[in-house]
Structures are given as structure tokens and as C-alpha cells.
């Protein structure tokens, strides 16, 4: 009798618990089978998978959600960092990658087929800081910036910082450095800049998407670094302009090549990007010559294989993706400013057009 009672109770337990898991699975798996049989052709080709730069994520989430409304194409973009985007593209697990850094030699040699870079947006890496008592905007020169990140300046009221920020009351607390823990194009832009402006940085640390930091805390993604800065008073770190703006974070003015202290903004990034762009789209905007340009800025690229016929990809899928990127570099640009991204200059758009037109499927160009 007792056993039966126990069994009944247990049966009830299965009923309740598996109604959450198993039963709903039956429901969903049956829908999934009907879905996949009726829609194998279009459901399969109606999602595009992308991964990479977390810098692009807010803009892409907006752009792709708008594109979905008009075209019904579902774009799944996961912000896993630029390095991750490149690796997943190399492994052919995603349709497109997005990176804030062009491929380097090592990455290029790992690829089985040529990849093209299409500039989609431009952004700035800002020096965000958390000094609750300070009202004025911090000003930094390139050498002081490098010294801070080299760990040579450890206090906020260091004479070198005070010399630039005259009349500003700096706290006597220690400087905490926040940096990216993951491979990232943001890191690449920032360290490329530091390598250009500081001899010591380029010999001791170098540039790259993930480097061995002399000091500091790591955070995963722009989110992680912005989080560290927000949460810890006395922290300084580098993040994308959009992330700093979204969080109402204080960020520093940085002195550019022509000696001006520039506030990072859409205008100053667009100014920095107003230079000659090579035909392959790969160009660094750091330490720009432009007089009003913010020195730590750079393009962000979408990366796709030049030859789209690989791994049984259909023509349809390839052309949908190319059209999506075309849209993103044209109509999609209207969403940039609202999210604090710098719209592409006409020169960059036309370079992108030419590159997109060079993409082929089975040797034939996809866009006519």
C-alpha cells in the first residue's frame, strides 16, 4: 500500500516537473519538426549568423531589428569580441564576422580563403574614468596616457596629471586600470594608438587585440570594462564612445597630433575619418593628421569570405547576406548618430560598395 502511495506521489511529481520540460518538449519538438519540414528552405536561409566586435553590438542590434521589420531576415549577431569573430569566421561557424581590427598576418594565414573587409561604422575609443568628486573634464596628453597604462603614474594627483589639468582638484587616491580581458578590436585601436605615441609602450607592450597588460583589471567585453569603471571609484579604462555615452560616464579629452585637446564625439570621429581610404578598406585612423580629429578612433569592419560558395551555402543565402551588408552601409547608417556611432563618410561608403561588388558566388559576382 505504502509503495503504491509512493508511486502515485512520484507519478504526480513527474507529471508536474516534466510538464515543464518533457511535455513542453513534445509540444515544441513537434512544432519544430513541422517548422523544419515546411520551412527547411526558407527558415534555413532566413537567418544569418554573425559574431564579433562587441563595439558594434548596440548598433547592430538596432540595425538588424529594423531590417527584420522591413525584410523579414533574422540576423543573429552575438557580441563575442573581434578576435572571436575572426576565429569563428575562420572555422566557418558564422556567416560574417565583425571586427574593429583588420586581420593581421597570422590570422590571414589561418584562413582557407580570402576574406574582404567592408567598413560599416566608425567609432572612438574613449578614456572613461570614475572620479565622483571631480566636476571638470579630465584632460590627457598622449605621454601621460601611456604612463598611466604602463603603471608609471599610480596616483590621481600625480604632478604630471596636475600639470595638464591646471586648477582642477585631483583626488589623492590610486589609479585603477580597467582593460579588456578578451581579444578585441577596441584593445587593438587603443594599443595601436599607444604604440604610435609612446616608444616605451611599443617596445615593452606592443599592439594587438589581446595583450599582456602591465597593470590593471580585466573585464569581458566593452560591457565588462564599462561595468568595472562604473562600479569602482578611481578607475580609468578605455571603452567605445557609445558605451560611455549610454552610461553617462565621464571621459577624458585627449590631445591630438596638432596639439588640440579633443572631446570624443561623432563630429570629431568623422573628422578623423576624413582621410584617404585605400581600396581594400583597411586603414587605421589612430593619431590622425586631421586638426579636429579625435586621435583614438577607428573603423569597424564586417568580414566575409570573398567567395561565398563554401560549405554548401546557397546562392540565396549569400545574396541575402550581401544585401544586408549593403543596406547596413547605406540606409542602416541613419541609426548611427542616435546611438553615438559616426556615420560613414561618402568615401568610405564607396570603398565599401566596390568591395561588396567584388564578392562572388561560384566565381560570379553576387551584386550586379
Amino acid at each position: 500500500m505504502k509503495v503504491f502511495k509512493g508511486l502515485a506521489v512520484a507519478g504526480l511529481a513527474i507529471a508536474i516537473s516534466s510538464s515543464m520540460a518533457l511535455v513542453s518538449c513534445n509540444g515544441s519538438s513537434s512544432t519544430s519538426t513541422t517548422d523544419s519540414t515546411s520551412a527547411t528552405t526558407n527558415s534555413d536561409d532566413n537567418t544569418i549568423l554573425g559574431a564579433g566586435s562587441s563595439f558594434d553590438n548596440p548598433l547592430f542590434s538596432k540595425m538588424f531589428s529594423e531590417y527584420n521589420k522591413t525584410n523579414g531576415l533574422k540576423v543573429n549577431y552575438q557580441s563575442i569580441g573581434s578576435g572571436g569573430g575572426i576565429l569563428q569566421l575562420t572555422n566557418k561557424t558564422v556567416d560574417f564576422g565583425a571586427s574593429d581590427a583588420p586581420l593581421n598576418g597570422k590570422q590571414d594565414s589561418a584562413l582557407s580563403a580570402p576574406v574582404v573587409h567592408i567598413p560599416v561604422t566608425a567609432g572612438a575609443v574613449v578614456i572613461g574614468y570614475n572620479l565622483p568628486e571631480m566636476k571638470d573634464t579630465l584632460m590627457l596628453t598622449p605621454s601621460v596616457l601611456a604612463d598611466i597604462f604602463l603603471g608609471k603614474i599610480t596616483k590621481w594627483n600625480d604632478a604630471k596629471i596636475a600639470a595638464i589639468n591646471k586648477g582642477v582638484k585631483l583626488p589623492a587616491t590610486g589609479i585603477i586600470i580597467a582593460h579588456r580581458s578578451d581579444g578585441s578590436g577596441t584593445t587593438n585601436i587603443f594599443t595601436t594608438y599607444l604604440s604610435k605615441v609612446s616608444e616605451e609602450w611599443s617596445t615593452k607592450v606592443g599592439k594587438g587585440s589581446s595583450i599582456n597588460w602591465p597593470v590593471g583589471l580585466g573585464g569581458k567585453g566593452n560591457e565588462g570594462v564599462a561595468g568595472s569603471i562604473k562600479q569602482t571609484p578611481g578607475t580609468i579604462g578605455y571603452i567605445e564612445l557609445a558605451y560611455a555615452m549610454q552610461n553617462n560616464m565621464a571621459f577624458a579629452k585627449v590631445q591630438n597630433k596638432s596639439g588640440k585637446f579633443i572631446t570624443p564625439s561623432i563630429a570629431s570621429v568623422t573628422a578623423a575619418a576624413d582621410i584617404q581610404i585605400p581600396a581594400d578598406g583597411k586603414v587605421s585612423l589612430t593619431n590622425t593628421d586631421a586638426a579636429d580629429g579625435y586621435p583614438i578612433s577607428g573603423f569597424s569592419w564586417v568580414l566575409i569570405y570573398k567567395e561565398q560558395k563554401y560549405n554548401n551555402r546557397s546562392m540565396d543565402r549569400a545574396s541575402k547576406m550581401v544585401k544586408l551588408i549593403w543596406w547596413a552601409t547605406h540606409e542602416g547608417q541613419q541609426y548611427s548618430s542616435a546611438l553615438n556611432y559616426a556615420p560613414l563618410s561618402p568615401a568610405a561608403v564607396s570603398v565599401g560598395e566596390a568591395i561588396l561588388k567584388s564578392a562572388t558566388y561560384d566565381g560570379k559576382p553576387i551584386l550586379q
Binding site: 509503495v3 509512493g6 508511486l7 506521489v9 512520484a10 504526480l12 511529481a13 513527474i14 508536474i16 516537473s17 515543464m20 520540460a21 518533457l22 513542453s24 518538449c25 515544441s28 519538438s29 512544432t31 519544430s32 517548422d35 523544419s36 527558415s43 537567418t47 549568423l49 559574431a51 548596440p58 542590434s61 538596432k62 538588424f64 531589428s65 527584420n68 533574422k74 543573429n76 549577431y77 552575438q78 557580441s79 572555422n91 566557418k92 561557424t93 558564422v94 573585464g219 569581458k220 567585453g221 566593452n222 560591457e223 565588462g224 564599462a226 561595468g227 562604473k230 558605451y243 549610454q246 552610461n247 560549405n311 542616435a338 546611438l339
Partner: protein
């Protein structure tokens, strides 16, 4: 003499009080976590929250429908794989205690139980994601099913070992073949112990993030195709919790509450229904 005895009794009482205080202190963090998640999460949860997918930054609203559906699908597929395999393997271990294979098999189950979840994620990436060229919910499910296996196997084995031999002998004496004895007599008798293991394993994997990072990958849209990337609750929480946007934080808190409620509910149901089975997991 008297003073010495008093001292000893006092020491004993003091120790008793200390252990009780320490033991009760263990509960404090759990209550703090539950209370905090509840406080943060409850205000974000409404009908809209369950039926919508996350919105891009800057647009208010948005929900976790994709992650909820994704979690259910990924866990269900994992259960479909792990439960039959796990129960059969558990039966094997309880029926063959002395063979060499059983020894190695038992050893492997112990090993599997100790494998860190992140390592299972790597394995699933190399076995299923890289060769097939696509992140998929299925690869996530298989990674999770590997995590479920040891719990299901051990609970099955331990439960069946607890059953009296006379039960099996009586069934054999009636001329029942081996498989019928197992499936019609032994397993039904131990079903609630086995189920408790199954439910605990489901509760355990429901909150796993690490194996899904490189497998299920995430998806901002509702998706039911298991060969495509899929969003799950723990992934959504991890991604949005580390983001700086308040909208996304709100989603993460709400999702945390949902996940916590789900996992705790499974645990509590298991505890209540299977109290009499003293299975050591």
C-alpha cells in the same frame, strides 16, 4: 573538582552554541540571494516579459520569450538523450557489480562527475560545432546531457542497490526473463529514487552556462530549430548582466528570478516526493 566539571560542561555548551550559530549562518547568504533576486526581479516580470523577445538598446520593454523557449528545448533534448542512457547504464552497474567492465564504467562515471563544465563545453565545441560548421542548440543539449549522465546513473544505481534481493528472486522464480524482471519489477519499484535523480540533474543543468558558451551560442529571435543557435536563460543572464545598459540589466534580473524559481521548484518537488529514498548523490 566541581569547578572543573562546570568548566567542562560550559565548554560543551559553548561549542554547541557555536556550531548552531555557524550552521544557521550558512543560511544567511542563500536568503540574501533569494531576497535580492526576488526584489530586483519581481518588478520586471509581467505578461509582456514572457511573450516578447529582447529589444535593442534604447527601446524599452522586451522580454525573454526566446531564452525561455530555448532553455526548455535545450533541456528537453538533453533529457531525452541522457535519461534512457543514464538509466540503462545505472541498471548495468547495479546488476553487474563484479565484472571488470563495471569497475571501469563506475570509474568513468566518477571521472565524468568531476569534469568541470567548461571542459565539457570545449569538448562539445570540438565534437559537434567545428565539424558541422555551425553553432547549434543540439550541441548544447549534448554537452548538457553529458553533465546529466553521472547524476542519473548514480541515482539509478544507488536506488536499485537499495531494493531487496528477494524482490528480484521472486520475479525470477516466477519464470520471468531478465529484461522483464528489470523493466517491470525492479525499475518500477525504484522509480521514485530514479526520478529524484533525473529531476535533480535537470535542475543542475538548467542553470549551467559554461557548456553553452561555445555551443548554443545565443539568438535574439525565437527559434525552434535545434540545428541553429539558440538563446537560453543562463546565457541571457550572463550576457545581459555584464552589459552596462539598465534595460538589459532589468531583463537579466527578471530572467534570474525565473531561472531561480524554476530550479528551486524542481528541487523542492524532488525533496518532497522522494523523501523516503535516501539516495546519496
Amino acid at each position: 573538582m566541581n569547578a572543573h566539571i562546570k568548566y567542562r560542561i560550559g565548554k560543551s555548551r559553548g561549542f554547541q552554541a557555536l556550531t548552531i550559530v555557524l550552521a544557521c549562518a550558512c543560511v544567511v547568504p542563500l536568503i540574501a540571494i533569494l531576497a535580492y533576486i526576488f526584489k530586483e526581479g519581481i518588478t520586471k516580470i509581467n505578461w509582456h516579459f514572457f511573450t516578447n523577445v529582447p529589444k535593442p538598446v534604447g527601446e524599452p520593454g522586451g522580454g525573454i520569450a526566446n531564452a525561455l523557449l530555448g532553455s526548455v528545448i535545450v533541456i528537453s533534448v538533453a533529457s531525452l538523450i541522457a535519461i534512457p542512457v543514464g538509466i540503462l547504464c545505472g541498471i548495468y552497474l547495479s546488476e553487474n557489480k563484479t565484472t571488470k567492465l563495471a569497475y571501469w564504467c563506475g570509474l568513468c562515471v566518477d571521472v565524468l562527475q568531476g569534469v568541470p563544465s567548461i571542459v565539457i563545453g570545449i569538448i562539445a565545441y570540438f565534437w559537434l560545432v567545428k565539424p558541422f560548421g555551425s553553432f547549434s542548440a543540439l550541441s548544447g543539449s549534448i554537452a548538457l546531457s553529458i553533465m546529466m549522465l553521472p547524476i542519473v546513473i548514480r541515482s539509478t544505481e544507488e536506488t536499485l542497490k537499495l531494493l531487496p534481493d528477494s524482490l528480484k528472486e521472486a520475479a525470477f522464480a516466477l519464470g520471468m526473463p531478465f529484461h522483464r524482471v528489470i523493466l517491470k519489477v525492479i525499475v518500477p519499484c525504484g522509480i521514485s529514487g530514479i526520478l529524484s535523480g533525473v529531476m535533480l540533474s535537470v535542475a543542475r543543468i538548467a542553470g549551467e552556462t559554461a557548456p553553452l558558451l561555445f555551443t548554443a551560442f545565443g539568438n535574439p529571435y525565437l527559434s525552434v530549430s535545434i540545428t541553429k543557435p539558440m538563446q537560453t536563460l543562463p546565457l541571457l543572464i550572463f550576457n545581459y548582466a555584464t552589459s552596462p545598459y539598465n534595460d538589459w540589466h532589468d531583463l537579466a534580473w527578471g530572467a534570474s528570478l525565473v531561472l531561480l524559481a524554476w530550479v528551486l521548484l524542481l528541487n523542492i518537488i524532488t525533496k518532497i516526493t522522494t523523501r523516503k529514498w535516501k539516495v546519496q548523490l
